[in-house]
């Protein structure tokens, strides 16, 4: 459905996207997972033919897509990261306008507008101006506009940012639903849970490059030889973490609120050393948990950075 080959884009000195390649099959949901500034928005802007590329190729159903080509764009629906709607038009007017731009016949457009209003839960506010909506309602309208012309590829750029947990769940459910209906979905996020829940395959992107790609299981395999030890603790956690980094077999140490996450090659071999090192640093341990590495750990391992802002 969509194939991107070696996409490149620089802003001055900064190589925002530095050779990104991925492909999405029909019915597949692909996630681009990466922290702020990783190059997610820039990559998808090139993928949908909105932004000029410095290099690379985009193929939609095997045909090349360029910013100037209009025909192929009708197959794609875009939900931009920043709200993109007319505040002085009603929800219905916003939907109708973009529907016309996609050349939808009148009768079908009217039906489809009602359908989409139903999907995004705005049927009762259809004739209110968008600037009277709450933030979450605007987000939902933003998604609805991308869905309206029933595209075959839906591209969503962090659609759940700033949405309350309930609406967020509703949004994720409708995306899951669309994915199961045969729509190809390209989804960017920096929320691990969303990527794990929605995406068939995930590309981990950082500093303009895809560091690893695969299913959730395949990505976890990268660290399959490793264990994750989570120590709930109090005291000088950072000093303790420093001591842990010196222990052989310890790959990664991450301090969060009230806990230290340690990635080790073999939990059984290193656990005693870890506990005694912490004790010497004056850290008191209240709980120990040994687990498989999650995506977060994979991400940290690949990029040396945490996903959290």
């Amino acid at each position: 459905m969509l194939e991107c080959r070696d996409l490149r884009k620089s802003f001055g000195e900064l190589a925002a996207v530095d050779g990104v390649s991925f492909h999405i099959a029909a019915g597949e949901t692909y996630g681009l997972l990466g922290p702020n500034g990783a190059g997610k928005t820039t990559s998808i802007s090139m993928a949908v033919g909105l932004m000029q590329r410095d290099g690379g190729q985009v193929l939609v159903d095997g045909e090349p897509l360029d910013p100037g080509t209009t025909r192929l764009k009708a197959k794609i629906g875009l939900v931009p990261q920043d709200l993109a709607l007319y505040p002085d038009l009603t929800a219905r007017e916003n939907l109708r306008f973009f529907g016309r731009l996609y050349d939808m016949p009148r009768a079908r457009l009217s039906r489809r507008v009602d359908e989409v209003l139903e999907i995004i839960g705005l049927s009762d506010r259809a004739n209110d101006r968008a600037d009277t909506f709450s933030g979450g309602m605007k987000r939902r309208l933003n998604i609805g506009i991308g869905l309206l012309h029933a595209p075959r590829l839906l591209v969503l750029d962090e659609p759940t940012v700033g949405v309350d947990p309930q609406s967020r769940n509703a949004i994720l459910e409708s995306i899951e639903q669309l994915g199961s209906e045969g729509l190809a979905v390209l989804y960017t996020t920096h929320y691990m849970e969303e990527a794990e829940r929605l995406c068939d395959r995930i590309g981990i992107i950082d500093r303009g490059q895809i560091k690893a790609e695969g299913t959730r299981r395949e990505l976890a395999q990268i660290l399959s030889q490793h264990d994750r030890v989570r120590l709930s603790a109090t005291g000088p956690l950072h000093e303790g973490a420093e001591a842990l980094r010196r222990i052989a077999g310890v790959q990664q140490v991450d301090v969060t609120d009230g806990a230290i996450d340690v990635l080790v090659e073999q939990a059984g071999n290193s656990l005693m050393a870890i506990l005694s090192a912490l004790e010497q640093s004056g850290v008191s341990i209240t709980g120990v948990e040994i687990d498989e590495p999650n995506l977060e750990a994979v991400f940290l391992h690949l990029t040396g950075r945490s996903l959290r802002d």
Partner: protein, 397 residues
């Protein structure tokens, strides 16, 4: 094309919802035109005539070009009645209204004192006097403008006299002859301008047309700057990602701007004609000028807007350009009467060409407006060319 119309229809819907356009496009120009027209034109000046008293005490070679040439010429055209007075006192009395000829309301007196020609020719200070009637400000201002224009010509001649004298005192006699010759040749250009503009556009029409043009630039700005608004609201990204060619986005904005500009001009023309009694002239000629002026306004404002990065900036740039060009272009006062640099500078604005075209139309036939229309179209071509070059980058991020 379909998508351009879809975009234009959406824009117009947004504009109709935004009340500020009614103020800018209709209420403000109509209100101001009514006020200006009333202040400067209490009754009707359709057949404007002024009565001047002239006291030519000097009777010298530099007096007759003013009396017979300039003022006499205006009298022949029927715009001015001349009353000859034997002395300065008599002329002044006539203006003050207690003269023997009570049938005449004299607007101003022009007094050429004794020795005037001789003093000018020998480079000594000389003066011309104008006595204005406080009750007829327009006609007496006209008298002052005529005399000042003539005096400026003499200044120039006097300068020549002085220079010649400084170089070669022996040729003083020749200098006097040259001065006399120069002063009696063509009547001063500024005086001709005054008479021309009063003949061509009456006050109501002038202020109606001036203000309509002034606000036209603000009105089309709503259409032009909506491209920046699309960017501000993020919707430009949706337009760029939609299956529509990029030129149709620009075309849509141009159609919006054109629609707004033409509708506001049409309403203003009809309203000033029926409510204020303005006389715009031959409808076909006016239509041609309005279309050309609207196109040039769109081009110029698009160029200004394309220089801006944000929609706030766009509005600021547009306002500065619209006000600046409007003032230079003489939409608020007949700047061509000011003479000098200002009078020529106005032709760097479409406003001046539009008003010039209306004047030409009033004074002549539809063929006479072709230079003005051509100038407006040249503005359109040049400015929209620059605007498109700038927007090209904007639309291809």
């Amino acid at each position: 094309m379909r998508s351009a119309l879809t975009i234009a229809a959406k824009d117009l819907r947004q504009r109709v919802r935004d009340r500020s356009i009614y103020v800018i496009a209709l209420a403000a120009p109509l209100g101001l035109a009514a006020i200006f027209g009333f202040v400067f034109n209490p009754i009707s000046d359709a057949d404007f005539t002024a009565t001047f008293a002239v006291a030519n005490i000097d009777q010298g070679p530099l007096a007759s070009p003013l009396v017979d040439g300039v003022l006499g010429g205006l009298a022949e055209d029927g715009n001015v009645n001349l009353v000859h007075a034997a002395s300065a006192e008599e002329a002044t009395r006539l203006v003050e209204g207690d003269g023997e000829r009570a049938d005449q309301d004299v607007d101003a007196a022009v007094i050429i004192p004794a020795e005037f020609s001789a003093r000018v020719q020998t480079g000594r200070p000389a003066e011309l006097r104008v006595v204005q009637n406080a009750n007829s400000s327009l006609a007496s201002t006209l008298a002052l403008a005529i005399v000042e224009g003539y005096a400026r010509e003499l200044d120039y001649v006097q300068g020549a006299v002085t220079t010649l004298t400084a170089f070669d005192p022996a040729r003083l006699a020749d200098a006097a002859a040259i001065a006399g010759l120069a002063a009696s040749t063509p009547s001063p250009a500024s005086v001709r301008d005054v008479s021309a503009s009063t003949k061509q556009l009456d006050n109501t029409t002038f202020y109606g047309a001036g203000l309509a043009t002034f606000f036209l630039f603000f009105t089309v700005q709503f259409g032009v700057n909506s491209l920046l608004a699309e960017r501000h609201f993020g919707t430009l990204n949706r337009l760029l990602a939609a299956p529509v060619p990029r030129w149709s986005i620009i075309l849509g904005k141009a159609i919006t701007s054109f629609g707004l500009g033409l509708v506001s001009m049409l309403i203003l023309i009809v309203a000033t004609s029926f409510i204020l009694g303005a006389d715009w002239g031959n409808p076909a000629g006016v239509a041609l000028l309005v279309v050309a002026a609207t196109a040039s306004a769109i081009g110029v404002m698009a160029m200004v807007s394309a220089l801006a990065r944000t929609s706030e900036q766009g509005e600021v740039f547009s306002s500065i350009a619209a006000v600046g060009l409007g003032i230079i272009g003489g939409t608020f006062f007949p700047i061509n009467q000011a003479g000098g640099v200002l009078a020529s500078l106005r032709f760097v604005t479409p406003h001046a060409w539009f008003l010039q075209g209306l004047g030409d139309l009033a004074g002549g036939s539809i063929g006479d407006i072709l230079p003005a229309v051509a100038a407006l179209l040249a503005f359109t071509a040049a400015s929209s060319g620059i605007a498109l070059a700038l927007l090209r980058r904007r639309l291809n991020p």
